[in-house]
Symmetry: C3
Subunit: 635 residues, 3 copies
C-alpha cells in the first residue's frame, strides 16, 4: 500500500513547493492528489487557461519522486462561470437556489454546466494525460457532499421527464406503475410531471423512488462524461472518484462500474459524532471512532469497482465540520492506516499535507501545522510506512461472509420508513458490526453480485429484489439470513400481489401478513434478546425457529435459509451468526470490547479501538489502546 | 347502527367489484363510501365526463344490497385543472405555493377553483342525486387535512379585505378594534391590509384572530356551495363531511350547521402517537389508544349537527402516517365500534375495504389485505355486527354533564399562549378525561348551545364569551365550573375594560389582577394537588374555596358557580367534579385504570382499554383487556 | 438616580393624560419616554405632519413636572411608507422579505428609507429640539430586535460592495485576505461579491466576518444620521439609544461612541428563560432572574458611552415574550431598581406606565393595570424612590477588576464555534459571575479601552487582538488572565503565521499547537475542577501552573500573566480569581448562594436573589429573599 496526501500548491507560495515535496517523500509518502479545487487559478478569466503554475507544481512534485493523482476542478466552478449561467445552480427541495460562495454550487442536470465541465476536463486531460508523473485521475470531488445529489431545478425536471419517457413509454404505463389513480394524480403526458417536492403532503413514494433513481443516474452520467474524456486523452491511468462515508444518495455501485478504482474519504471521529451512534459510543470512542466505521466502508467500497480501492482522504487530526471535534488518541492515525492496509487498500492519502490558515477548513488538521511544523500525525505516518514496508504487499482472500448492500434499499426505507426509527444504514451497520465482533471478515457486495464461494450470506433488508438475485440466492447451499421487509416491494414501489416476501417465497415459504413499527423504548422480549422498531406477523406452515415470549415467531428457517421478521438486537444477531458459523464450519469468537480482527491472505491484524489494554485470546498478545498487532497466519 | 366501509372501485379491476360487494354484505356491512378521490377518472380530460364506470360501480354495489355515500371529488383536482389555473393552489405561511402531487392542493378562496367545484358537484349531483342506492353525500374530504385551512394567497388576501370591510365598515373602526396604533400599524384603507404572515415579529393577535375567523368562514362557504347544489339535485339525502381528530383550524360547529349529519375519521392509535400524550400513555396504550380519544370526538361531533353523527373512517389496523404505527390489540376494532355505538353513531365505516398496494397509503391496513385475504379486523367486524343486531337500536339520553367547547377559544389560546404549555385541546381533553374516569357521560356543546337540562356544566376556558352565553350560564342553577382565562378577551382580542373575567363577573365576583405562566417542571402545591402551567392572581371578596399551600386562592365559589384560577391537575379536577356531582345528586365512581363506561337510554357499556383484566365494581364483571360488557340499565 | 416610565399618549384618550401625569409624579417618577412608535399618528398621510396631539401630550406631561425623553419613530414606519418603497424591507437569511405588520420592517442599508428617517427626525428635532421639557432623545428603538441587524437585500449587497472596496482597494487584496483561492472563490471585481447567505455549505468565515462588520457599521451610520440631525436642532440634550440584553449582533461600543448616554432594556425574568441557563437556574431563579443578569449589563453598558448609562426599560411584572412568563417575587422590582442605582445608572425607567389592553404586548405588565389600578410594582417603585432619595447621589469608583468584552469576538466565535457548545456570551458571563460570586465589583471594558488603574484584568477570549491592545496589556503589572482562543485569528479571520496566541506571545511564551472541542457530558478532570467544551494543546518551556490529571497543562503563568488553555468550570475560575486577588491585594469572599454585593464610592449594597433568608458575613445582616441592605462604606 502506498501512502500519499492531498496537496494544494495554489494555496502556498511557489517557493515552498520543493521543500514540501522533499518532506513528503521523507515522511514515506509517494502519492499526492492535487488540482480538484483549482478552477479559478487554471482559468482566472473565461477562456484564458493558465497552465504554467500547474506545470511547475507537477514538475516539482515529480522531481521529488512523487506520483500525482490529478483532480478535475468541476466541484468548484468560478464566480464568472456561475454569472454567465445563473440557472446552473441546483434548486433545493424548498425551491431555493443554492448559490455561489462555497462549493458544489451546480446542478447535475444543467446542460450548459455539463458542457463547461467537458471543456475543462478535456483541456486538462489533453495537457496532462500522458505526463509520466500523472498516475491517476479523480473526477470532481465528493459527489453529493452537502446534500447536492437531488436538485429540483427546471433543468432537472426537464431531464426527469425524458428519463420517465424512456422508462415507461406512455403516461398510462407510468400512471399504472405508480398507482396514480390513488388521489387523481394521473398524468396525460410526461410534460405534466414535476419533481416530487413542494407537494401538500407526501408525494407518491413511487414518484420519489423514480426521482431518486433519476438523480442517481444523473450523477452516473455526469461522472461518465469525464471518465470518457480522460480515457481518451490519458491512456493507462487509473480513474477514481472519492466517495464519502455513510452516504447513500446515489448508487455508488453504478458510479463505481465506470471507475478503475473506488476511493473514499475516511473521517472516523467526525462520522461517530455526526451519525446515529448513541451517547455511550460517542463518549467511549470519542477519540478513536467506533471500531467498525472505517472497516465498514473499506469493505463496502472494495465491492464497488471490481475489488480495487483506496482511501483518498484520511483524517490525520481534529476536523472542523462535526458538532464537536476532538483529537484522535495517539496511535489512531497509524491504526487507521493499518486497518486500510489490512482491508486491501492500494493507497491511503492523508487530508491534507498542511493545515490551511484560511477559509472554510482552517480548523481542519493536516500532517503539518499551518506554521509548517509537523503535526502529531506525522510520526504515525512514518511508523505506518515502516510497518507496511516490513509486511510487504498483502493479497486479499475472499471473505467467508457476504453482506448484501443496496442503495435502492436505502432509498426505499428513507422514502417510506413506516416507523421513524427504521434507518437502512443503521440496520446494515448493526449486522456488519455483529459479524465483526465475532471476528469475521466480511465482503459487502451489491444486490446483483455473484455470491459464489461465500460461506455465509446476509441481507439485512432488500425491499425490492430482482428475479435474478432471487435466483442467485436460491442456488446457494450455505447459511443465508434475510432481514425484515425483504421482498416487500415491486420495482414500482408497490406491494407484490402475493405480499412480502414476494419472490423470496421461492425458498422462504411464508407470508408477511402485517407489519408494525414500534416506538422507541418499547420492545418485544424473547429468550435473551429483544425486538425493537419493527415487527412482522408471519403466516407459514414452518414452525418458528425462534419465537418471542408471547409466542409470535421471529426467526423462520427453511433448509439453509432463515428469515428474521423484526429488527434484531445484538444478542439475537450474535446467536444467529454463531449458529450459521457453526453450520458453515467457520470459527467465530466473541471479541472483547473494542477489539477487532482482519485477515489478509497471509496475516492476521488485531486492532484495539478501546481505552484499555486488552488481551487477545487468539494469540495471547496484550494490545495497548489505539494499537495493533500483526501476526502471520499459520494456515 | 349500520356498518360500512370506504371503497375505491377505480383502484381495482372492474371484475373484482361484484365479489367485493358480496363479501362486504356477507361481513355485515350495509354502507359504502365511494368517489371522493376519483376526479381524474370522472373527468380524465377537461370537460369530458366519464360516468359509465361509476354508473356500473354504483349498480354493482347496489345489487349487493349496499347503500352508497357518494363523495364529491374536490379534494383532489387533476393535474390538467391545476395547470389551467396554477394560482389556485394555497400559499403556505412561508409564502410557498403548495403544489400538485398529493392532495388538497387548492386554496379555499380561489374563485376559479370554486367555480370548478360547483361545476363538478352539479354534474355529479344531477347524475346520481336521485339514484335509489345513493343514501348520502360527503362534501370534499377532511377539510383542513395537512394544514390546509390557512392560505396566504393573493386570492385569500383579496377576500380577506372584503371580509374585513363587511365586519368593520371603515379602516378606522378596524384600527380601533385591533389597537393598530400600537406600533403604527394603522391602515388608511382595507386595500392596505395583508394577511398576517411574514411579519418581522408576531403580528397583532387581533389580526391573526380575524384571519382565522375569515379562513374558517371560507371553509364554511366553500362547503355550503356544494351543500346547496346537492340539496337542489338530491332531495332527501343526508349530506355530511368527514371531520378529523384533534383538529380545530376551522369552526366545526359552523360547518356542522349546514350538514345533516356530522361524521369524523377515527384513528385512535395514530392520534395517541401524534399528539401530546406523554411517553407513559404512549407505551401503555400503544395498541389501544388512550381510552378517551374516540369518546371525546364522538361526544364533540354529536354536538355539531343537531345530534346526528357517525364515524366515516374507522381504523381497522396499523396506519401509515404516525411516527410509529403498531397494530391494534386483538379486540380493539370491535371495541372501538361498540364505543361508537354506545355514543349514538348512526354508522361506523371502516377505512378501507382493501389495503391499496400502491401510492401514498399502501401501508394503511384495510378489512382485506392487498391480496384480498381477510385482515385481522374482518372477524371483529362480524362480532360487532352481531352484537349490534342483538342489542338493537339505542336511544341517546341527554348526558348529565355538559362540557363547553369553542373553536374560537382554541384559536385565541394558539395565537397567544402566553406560556408555551397552554394548549387548548389538551386542557379540554384533561377535563373531559377526568369526567369520564369518574364514570360520567358527557355532551360536548358549543359556546352558544342551550344548557337546559344539564346537571353539571364545565367550561375549561372561554377567553371570548358572548353576552348571550353569559346569560345562558347565569340562568343555570346546577353546579358550574369555569376554567382559567375565561372572559379574558373581548371579541376584538383585547383585554376587557374591567379585566378578566369580564362578563362572567355577573356571577363570579372576582377580578384576575395578574396571570403567570409557569415553566414545565415547576408546580404550585395545594393539599393533594398541584397547579402547573398557568396561575392567576385573584382579587375578590370571596374566600377561596381551595387555596395553594402558599395561601393563594385557586378555586373560588359563588352560589352554584366555581372559578378555577389555574391549570388544575387530575387530582384537583377529580375532587371538584366529585363535589359538583354530590351537589347535583349525580353518582360518580373512580374507575380502575383503563376502564370506561358509557350509557345509552337503555344500556350500560363498560370498556376495558387496559392491558390487564379488570373487575368492574358496578356489575362485578371481570372484563378482559380490549374487551367490553353490555348490560341493560336497571333504572 | 431618577425614575421614569415609558408612556404612549397615543394609546389613550387625551382626557386621561393629565391624570396619568399627576400619578406618575406622585409615584416618584420624574422622566417619561414617549414617541418612539408614533409615526402613524405623527404623519397619518404622506407629508401631513400632525404635531398638535404630541404638542399637547408634551405640555401635559411637562405641566406635571416630568421631563421627556423623545424617541424618533423610525422603528415603525407606517404602511403607506412601506407601500411607496416595498423594497425597503429587510431580506432574511433565507431570502424572504420581512414584511409589514409588526415592527422593525426596514433594511438599514436602504437609501430611500434612510432619507425618510432623516426627514422625520429633522422635522421632529426642529419642532421639539429646544422644548424645555425635552431633556433627552432616543434614536429609533432596540436596534436589531427580532434579528434585524443582518439583511440580505439588494440594497445591503450594493453597500457591502462599496464597503469592501473601501476596505480592500482591489479584488486581489480581498481574495488574498479571505483566502478565496481555497475553493476557487476568487472574485475578479467587487461587483461579483454577494452576501454570504444561501451558499451550498458554509461560506468563507472571512466573508461572514466582514459581512457582520459591514452590518454593524450600517447600524452605526444609521444611528449617526439621526444623532447628527438631533445635535444640530436640539443642543444640550442627551442622545441615547436603548440597547438590549445578551445581544451582540452589532458593535455597541461603536454605536455608544456617538451617544451621550447608553441605555438598555432590562428584563431579568425573560432573559433567564430565553437564554442558556440550565433547568436548575431557571427553576431556582424563575421569579428573580439569575443574580448576575442585570449587573452584567449594567457593567457592560456603563463602558459603552464614557461611563454614562441608564435603564430605559425595566421589567415591572410578567412579560409576554418568553416561553414562560412568571411574575417577579414581591420585592424584586425594588431590588432591580436598587441594583441599577448601585451600578451608577442615571435613571431607571419602567416599561411601561400602563399595560396596553390591545395588540402584541397586551400581556406585558406595567406599573398600572389596563383598568388603571396600580399593579404590584407601583408600591415597590415608591419604596425604591424613597430609598434612593435617602441615600442621595452615588459616585462610582473605578472597579478593581476589568473584564474585556469584544463584539467582534462574539462574531468570530459565532461564525466558527468549532465546537457546538462554544458560546461567547456564555463564556464571558461565567467569568463575570465567578468574579461577582467572590464579591468583586467589575468594569466591563472594550478591547480598546485603557486598563489604567485596574488591579486585575481578565479577557475570557479575544480571538482577534490588535497590536495596540497587546501593548496595553503588556504594560500592565497587575494579574492578568487570558482565556482560550485568544490571539488565534488575524483580522482577516485567518490563523496567524506563528499560530495562537499570536501577538500575545509578547508576554505569554507558548504556542497552541492543536485545539479540541469536547462534546457535552465529556470532561477532563483536574484537581478539584473540570475542563469541558474546549481544550488546547500547549507547547511551551513554561511549566504549567495547573495541569489536568493526565498531565496536560491547563493554566500557564509568566510573570503577572496567565493563560487558560481550556473552558474552565466555576471551581477553577474561583481559585484563579482568588489567587489573583491575593496577588493584587484585593479581598475576595465566597458569597452564599443568591447573595451579591455592589459598592459605590460611599456605600455597600448587598442583594439577596435567593429564595431563603441569608446571613451576610460582611455585616452580620440577615437579608430576606428578594431584599437588600445598604451600608455606608467604612473606608
Amino acid at each position: 500500500m502506498k501512502l500519499g496526501c492531498c496537496y494544494y500548491p495554489e494555496h502556498w507560495p511557489e517557493e515552498m513547493w520543493a521543500e514540501d515535496a522533499r518532506r513528503m517523500a521523507e515522511m514515506g509518502l509517494s502519492l499526492v492528489r492535487i488540482g480538484e479545487f483549482a478552477w479559478s487559478r487554471i482559468e482566472p478569466e473565461p477562456g484564458q487557461l493558465h497552465w504554467e503554475w500547474l506545470d511547475r507544481a507537477i514538475e516539482t512534485l515529480s522531481d521529488a519522486g512523487l506520483k500525482i493523482i490529478l483532480g478535475t476542478p468541476t466541484a468548484t466552478p468560478p464566480k464568472w462561470l456561475v454569472d454567465t449561467m445563473p440557472n446552473m445552480v441546483a434548486i433545493d427541495e424548498q425551491g431555493k437556489p443554492r448559490g455561489f460562495g462555497s462549493r458544489r454550487h451546480y446542478c447535475f442536470s444543467h446542460g450548459g454546466y455539463r458542457q463547461e465541465c467537458r471543456r475543462i476536463a478535456t483541456a486538462m486531460a489533453k495537457r496532462y494525460g500522458t505526463h509520466p508523473a500523472v498516475t491517476a485521475w479523480q473526477t470532481d470531488n465528493e459527489f453529493g457532499c452537502h446534500d447536492t445529489v437531488l436538485s429540483f431545478s427546471e433543468a432537472a425536471a426537464a431531464r426527469f421527464r425524458i428519463w420517465l419517457h424512456a422508462r415507461y413509454g406512455t403516461p398510462d404505463a407510468l400512471n399504472r406503475a405508480w398507482g396514480n389513480v390513488f388521489w387523481s394524480m394521473e398524468y396525460r403526458s410526461f410534460d405534466e410531471v414535476d419533481p416530487p417536492n413542494l407537494t401538500v403532503t407526501e408525494a407518491n413514494p413511487a414518484h420519489w423512488l423514480d426521482y431518486r433513481r433519476f438523480a442517481s443516474d444523473e450523477v452516473v452520467s455526469f461522472n461518465r462524461e469525464q471518465v470518457d474524456i480522460i480515457r481518451q486523452h490519458s491512456p493507462d491511468r487509473d480513474i477514481t472518484h472519492n466517495f464519502m462515508g455513510f452516504f447513500t444518495e446515489f448508487d455508488h455501485h453504478d458510479v463505481g462500474r465506470d471507475l478503475d478504482i473506488a476511493t473514499w474519504d475516511s473521517y472516523p471521529l467526525g462520522f461517530l459524532e455526526q451519525f446515529w451512534f448513541g451517547d455511550a459510543n460517542k463518549r467511549d470512542y470519542m477519540r478513536q471512532g467506533h471500531p467498525d466505521i472505517a472497516a465498514f466502508h473499506h469493505d463496502l467500497y472494495r465491492g464497488c469497482s471490481g475489488g480495487r480501492w483506496g482511501v483518498m482522504e484520511q483524517q490525520p487530526g481534529p476536523v472542523n465540520w462535526a458538532r464537536f471535534n476532538p483529537a484522535p488518541l495517539p496511535g489512531m492515525v497509524a491504526l487507521w492506516t493499518m486497518e486500510a492496509f489490512a482491508h486491501g487498500a492500494e493507497f491511503t492519502s492523508y487530508f491534507r499535507w498542511r493545515q490551511a490558515p484560511f477559509a472554510q477548513e482552517q480548523m481542519h488538521a493536516g500532517l503539518l501545522r499551518p506554521d509548517s511544523e509537523e503535526a502529531e500525525a506525522a510520526d504515525e505516518v512514518r511508523i505506518a510506512a515502516r510497518k507496511i514496508a516490513e509486511l510487504g504487499p498483502q493479497q486479499m482472500a475472499q471473505a467467508p461472509v457476504a453482506l448484501v448492500f443496496s442503495y435502492e434499499a436505502a432509498w426505499v426505507c428513507g422514502i417510506q420508513p413506516q416507523g421513524a426509527s427504521f434507518r437502512y444504514l443503521e440496520l446494515v451497520y448493526e449486522w456488519y458490526s455483529a459479524l465483526r465482533r465475532l471476528g469475521l471478515d466480511v465482503d459487502i457486495v451489491s444486490a446483483g453480485a455473484s455470491l459464489d464461494g461465500y460461506k455465509i450470506v446476509l441481507a439485512p433488508t432488500l425491499p425490492i429484489i430482482s428475479d435474478e438475485f432471487v435466483e442467485e440466492l436460491r442456488e446457494l447451499d450455505c447459511p443465508v439470513l434475510i432481514g425484515p421487509r425483504s421482498g416487500s416491494k415491486t420495482p414500482s414501489f408497490t406491494i407484490p400481489d402475493d405480499l412480502a416476501p414476494g419472490g423470496l417465497r421461492a425458498f422462504l415459504p411464508l407470508t408477511v401478513s402485517r407489519v408494525e413499527s414500534i416506538r422507541d423504548g418499547c420492545t418485544h422480549r424473547g429468550d435473551g434478546f429483544e425486538i425493537t422498531r419493527w415487527l412482522e406477523h408471519i403466516e407459514s406452515e414452518l414452525e418458528p425457529e425462534i419465537a418471542l415470549e408471547c409466542g409470535r415467531g421471529i426467526v423462520f428457517a427453511n433448509n439453509n435459509y432463515r428469515y428474521c421478521a423484526g429488527w434484531p438486537d445484538g444478542s439475537l444477531l450474535t446467536s444467529l451468526i454463531e449458529q450459521m458459523g457453526s453450520e458453515a464450519g467457520i470459527e467465530t469468537m466473541r471479541l472483547p470490547k473494542g477489539l477487532r480482527i482482519r485477515r489478509t491472505a497471509t496475516h492476521q491484524f488485531v486492532f484495539n479501538y478501546g481505552l484499555e489494554p486488552v488481551q487477545f485470546a487468539g494469540t495471547g498478545d496484550t494490545i495497548a489502546p489505539a494499537s495493533f498487532v500483526v501476526t502471520p497466519l499459520t494456515t
